[in-house]
């Protein structure tokens, strides 16, 4: 456990950690958004609009890709600092 680390981190490493958290949260957000159409139509009482749904899905898809690109670029440069990432993996989240 790295509880003996400093309470106040430098801005840079704090940002790095939040970026990694962001990378972990992105698929969760993506899953939620992509499963959202289920809520719009609980069961097939009224037919769905293919065009609208299609545009929605592709818009979400594009958004996810763009955010993932930004995050991976930011994280890719921080990949060299693997050791903190490895230790950090004990912090709270499992993977």
């Amino acid at each position: 456990m790295n509880r003996r680390g400093p309470v106040f981190l430098a801005r840079r490493s704090y940002r790095m950690r939040r970026l990694r958290d962001g990378a972990r949260l992105l698929p969760v957000a993506g899953t939620f958004l992509l499963l959202l159409p289920i809520l719009w139509q609980p069961s097939a009482t009224e037919a769905r609009d293919t065009a609208f749904d299609g545009i929605y899905i592709f818009a979400v898809w594009a958004g996810l890709i763009i955010v993932a690109a930004i995050l991976s670029r930011a994280l890719g440069t921080g990949e060299e600092a693997e050791a903190p990432a490895g230790q950090e993996d004990d912090e709270g989240l499992t993977p």
Binding site: R20, A23, R24, L26, P27, V28, G30, T31, L34, L35, P37, I38, Q41, P42, S43, A44, A47, R48, D49, T50, A51, D53, G54, I57, F58, W61, A62, L64, I65, I66, V67, A68, A69, S72, R73, L75, G76, E79, E82, A83, A85, G86, Q87, D89, D90, T94, P95
Partner: protein
């Protein structure tokens, strides 16, 4: 389009891919070019996920079910943008453990278990057959489209034999592509490049058709939306379980499909490529999917009602006379099918040869000797496996009638490979996952999948009779293949997915919880789950044991080939600093060799081979105990050495101290000698002087008598001094002979007083005695004790300077000791002189008056020491006070037989 032209086109394309692969591999052998490991090549190679299913089947899926087709691509999107969760760990482990296939990873995680390797291989082979059949079907159908268009040249044979020809062609091509040599890491750089090229061709073809449809057939996106709203698929049904279930299923499949695992993990050359692929691969998938609905809608509008929507990508361009575009699309579809078959069958063949053929061959070998050419055996095993896999795919194709939709076939395969997910993910994140659990989970999942999905897919009366499907086996309705345990009304696919994964996970969890892992399993579990905590993990160190390096070389030669093996061994000797071809079997060398062999025959087989040569199967507990014993012995030796060192230090210290003492004694001796010579010289001087005067002759007689008397006195003094010295020396050496007798203390004191009375007889001394206390009988040497008493009393008589001098003699008895005090009433001895009075030649006043040499008290001290007692000065008694203590009975002299 004439059929033979079509065939020619296909062959040309294939030859083109082959040429690229070949050229790249040559370049890679010469020196890996940096661009080969570029993230874009990696991303494009991942496009192997999009096969003919995507190229043809997606449009068909959309035409039938609306937007549901997109779930197949949303799952991988989520898995890839969420690479930080699973993919990162997967790739890291794959690189660290040099995993060669998914079966290898699972088997390696659970203690290099061969059983698991076999199970996973079999599941993958069975699950792949629908997928390969799907590719065969799509190619056959696409051939059929073009053959129908023209009727000169060769006429296309019927679909069944076409399928056979296609299968054979693909098998041949794959064998040529993938089994020319054995790579140590199981990486096929050339194939990866060929796939990347093919990915571009696929994308270009589909996007070209899409653009054509949107902007040239329709009037742009707005028109497309209008057409969508006017088409039969304007309203589509979202079944929540299917929507969520298929997204989850495709997310699983993207890592458990053997071909995906191959390009994702095994062929990965740089971990950082994953960061780029995390968004670039979803981008590719989106690009492939964006035109699917427009093409489907336009196809539904333009083509007759019964047209197969799976082929809209071909038939729509053909219907508007765009033969060239259709040709491009055909090539795209053909190449997507081809690349899938190549990569999948290579991955499967690797698994079969490493986990089934090699272990069987190893166990059937009668002797220890590695005979025969293992390399050739491995390559042949792989070729047969490729042919076998394609054969099975063809059988499935012909059994299933080739009439089902492409997508539905593919989904059967997806659920099959999804059975690997609990064992794999559990192994990555849960250290408590064990081999027994994994095996239980895999078998349960496989059985349930086969029962609920795979076997029913052959059709109602091929495997399961209709009655079994409707009413359950033996009439047990709760065992109906498509409505297990009363789950009626579930979509068959989701039903199968649900039950198989529930059964799989439950069996996996229970099996793991109730079984105990072996030591190797635990080591591997730690290495896998905590892979980010260590930069370099050594999964297993080899004990050198009785390894004969020459045997290893023979083994390596047979598996890797003569030259590669010799090169490898020579490199190792150079690294070790020697020369020749036989390096020392150090643990690091053995590990490197094991890895290299694992690339050719699989980790489990390589491990087993080296283990046999090393003479032991694994690091056993016995080995560990032996190592611990050795360590304990070493520790014992070192502690003994420590003791010896400490002792030596002690001895050195003692020697130093003794040396110091000796130096001091030598100094003392020198001082003593100078003192003696001084003492002796003084009387001698007088004697000489007066003798000389007497020799003159003219000395009056009275003076002569006086001088003679002086000479006499001095001679006596000298004699006394010499006697004292001798006495002292004898006492100090402990060579004195004590005459031990029982004597009365009273008598002794009387005697001492009488003798001491000769000193200063003119002086009247008052002597105080307490006679009752002196009534003791002591066993000691009376003469010596008397000597001490005489000395003390004489000293008092000589030095006591009181006007009425008194001496008090006090006797006490304490237990076994007698204490005799001699106290006078003089002025005593000054404090600063009290400790030197017992030293030799110590005199407090000048010598002439005392008449002695200053040895008296020194002699007393030695005598008392010899008598087992002591003499000390008592301060603050109102005068000079000496205390003599001695034992009541001295049994034997203190120093007896001193050398």
């Amino acid at each position: 389009m004439p059929f033979n032209l079509l065939v020619l086109a296909c062959l040309t394309y294939v030859a083109f891919l082959f040429a690229i692969a070949f050229a790249v591999e040559r370049r890679a052998q010469a020196g890996a070019a940096r661009w080969l490991r570029s993230p874009w090549i990696y991303t494009l190679s991942l496009s192997i996920y999009c096969t003919a299913w995507t190229f043809y089947g997606a449009v068909g899926y959309a035409a039938r079910s609306g937007l549901e087709f997109v779930t197949i691509y949303l799952g991988p999107t989520l898995m890839f943008i969420g690479w930080w969760w699973v993919l990162r760990k997967l790739v890291r482990i794959g690189r660290q453990q040099r995993v060669t296939s998914i079966a290898d990873m699972i088997s390696s995680r659970y203690g290099k278990s061969n059983l698991l390797g076999v199970i996973v291989t079999l599941i993958c082979v069975v699950a792949a057959t629908p997928y390969i059949a799907l590719q065969l079907q799509s190619v056959t159908l696409s051939f059929g489209v073009f053959a129908a268009a023209g009727s000169y040249g060769w006429v296309m044979p019927d679909t069944a034999s076409t399928g056979l020809w296609v299968a054979s062609g693909l098998a041949l091509f794959t064998i040529l592509f993938g089994t020319r040599n054995l790579d140590a890491n199981e990486q096929h750089t050339g194939i990866v490049i060929a796939i990347a090229v093919e990915a571009v061709v696929k994308l270009v073809a589909l996007v070209a058709v899409g653009i054509f449809v949107v902007w040239f057939i329709a009037d742009g996106p707005a028109d497309i939306v209008t057409r969508i709203n006017a088409s039969p698929i304007a309203d589509w049904e979202l079944v929540p379980t299917r929507w969520a279930g298929l997204i989850a299923l495709s997310a699983t499949a993207v890592i458990t499909l053997p071909r995906m695992f191959q390009v994702l993990v095994v062929e990965n050359s740089d971990e950082r490529n994953l960061a780029t692929a995390s968004w670039a691969f979803p981008l590719y998938l989106a690009a492939m999917s964006v035109f699917v609905v427009p093409i489907a809608v336009v196809g539904l509008q333009m083509l007759p009602a019964g047209a197969n929507p799976d082929l809209f990508v071909l038939t729509v361009p053909l219907s508007v006379g765009q033969g060239g575009l259709a040709m491009l699309a055909f090539l795209g579809g053909f190449s997507s099918a081809t690349s899938m078959v190549i990569v999948a069958s290579i991955a499967l063949a690797t698994m079969v040869s490493n986990h089934i053929v090699m272990p069987v061959w190893l166990s059937l070998r009668p002797t220890r000797e590695v005979t025969g050419d293992v390399r050739r055996l491995v390559l042949n095993a792989r070729r047969f496996s490729i042919a076998g896999v394609l054969g099975l795919g063809y059988l499935y194709y012909s059994f299933s009638g080739g009439s089902a939709s492409l997508a539905s076939i593919g989904l059967i395969s997806f659920v099959g490979v999804a059975q690997m997910m609990p064992a794999m993910l559990g192994g990555l994140f849960w250290r408590g996952a064990t081999r027994v659990g994994a095996a239980a989970g895999l078998i349960t999942g496989f059985v349930l999948w086969a029962y609920t999905l795979f076997l029913p897919s052959f059709g109602p009366d091929s495997v399961f009779s209709l009655s079994v499907l409707m009413d359950g086996p033996l009439g047990l309705s709760w065992l109906r293949p498509q409505a297990l345990f009363g789950a009626r009304g579930m979509d068959p696919l989701i039903h199968a997915l649900f039950w198989s994964l529930v059964g799989n996970t439950t069996a996996f969890a229970l099996g793991s919880l109730f079984s105990f892992p072996s030591p190797v399993e635990r080591v591997q579990g730690l290495a896998f789950v905590n892979v980010f905590d260590t930069e370099r993990s050594e999964p297993q160190a080899w004990d050198q044991g009785l390894i004969d390096t020459e045997e290893l070389l023979k083994l390596a030669q047979r598996i890797l080939g003569d030259e590669p093996a010799l090169t490898f061994f020579q490199q190792a000797t150079q690294e070790q600093g020697t020369d020749g071809y036989l390096p020392d079997p150090t643990p690091s060398f053995l590990e490197a060799l094991e890895r290299k062999l694992a690339g050719a025959v699989g980790a489990a087989a390589a491990h087993a081979m080296i283990a046999e040569l090393a003479g032991r199967a694994r690091v056993t507990v016995a080995d560990l105990i032996r190592v611990a014993d050795e360590t304990a012995q070493i520790m014992e030796n070192s502690s003994r050495l420590e003791h010896q060192r400490a002792e030596l230090e002690r001895t050195a210290r003692q020697l130093r101290e003794a040396n110091e003492k000796l130096t001091q004694i030598s100094i003392q001796k020198d001082a003593f000698l100078s003192q003696i010579s001084h003492e002796l010289r003084t009387p001698m001087t007088s004697i000489r002087a007066f003798s000389e005067i007497l020799m003159e002759g003219d000395v009056p007689p009275e003076m002569a008598v006086t001088q003679a008397r002086i000479i006499h006195e001095e001679a006596i003094r000298l004699t006394r001094l010499l006697d004292d010295l001798l006495d002292l020396s004898v006492l100090e050496n402990g060579t004195v002979q004590l005459d031990l007798r029982l004597v009365s203390l009273t008598e002794l004191i009387d005697r001492a007083l009488r003798a001491a009375g000769q000193v200063r007889p003119e002086q009247t001394f008052v002597i105080w005695r307490d006679l009752p206390t002196e009534a003791l009988f002591i066993r000691t040497d009376p003469d010596r004790l008397a000597q001490v008493f005489i000395n003390l009393v004489s000293n008092s008589r000589k030095y006591c300077d009181a006007r009425q001098p008194e001496i008090r003699i006090a006797v006490k008895q304490r237990g076994a000791r007698v204490i005799v005090d001699f106290i006078d009433n003089g002025s005593g001895i000054p404090k600063d002189k009290q400790h030197i009075i017992f030293e030799k030649f110590a005199r407090l006043t000048d010598q002439t008056r005392a008449g002695g040499a200053g040895l008296g008290l020194a002699i007393c001290r030695e005598i008392m020491a010899n008598l087992g007692g002591s003499i000390t000065y008592l301060p603050a008694q109102g005068g000079a006070a000496f205390r003599v203590t001695l034992p009541l009975r001295l049994e034997k002299p203190k120093y007896s037989d001193a050398a």
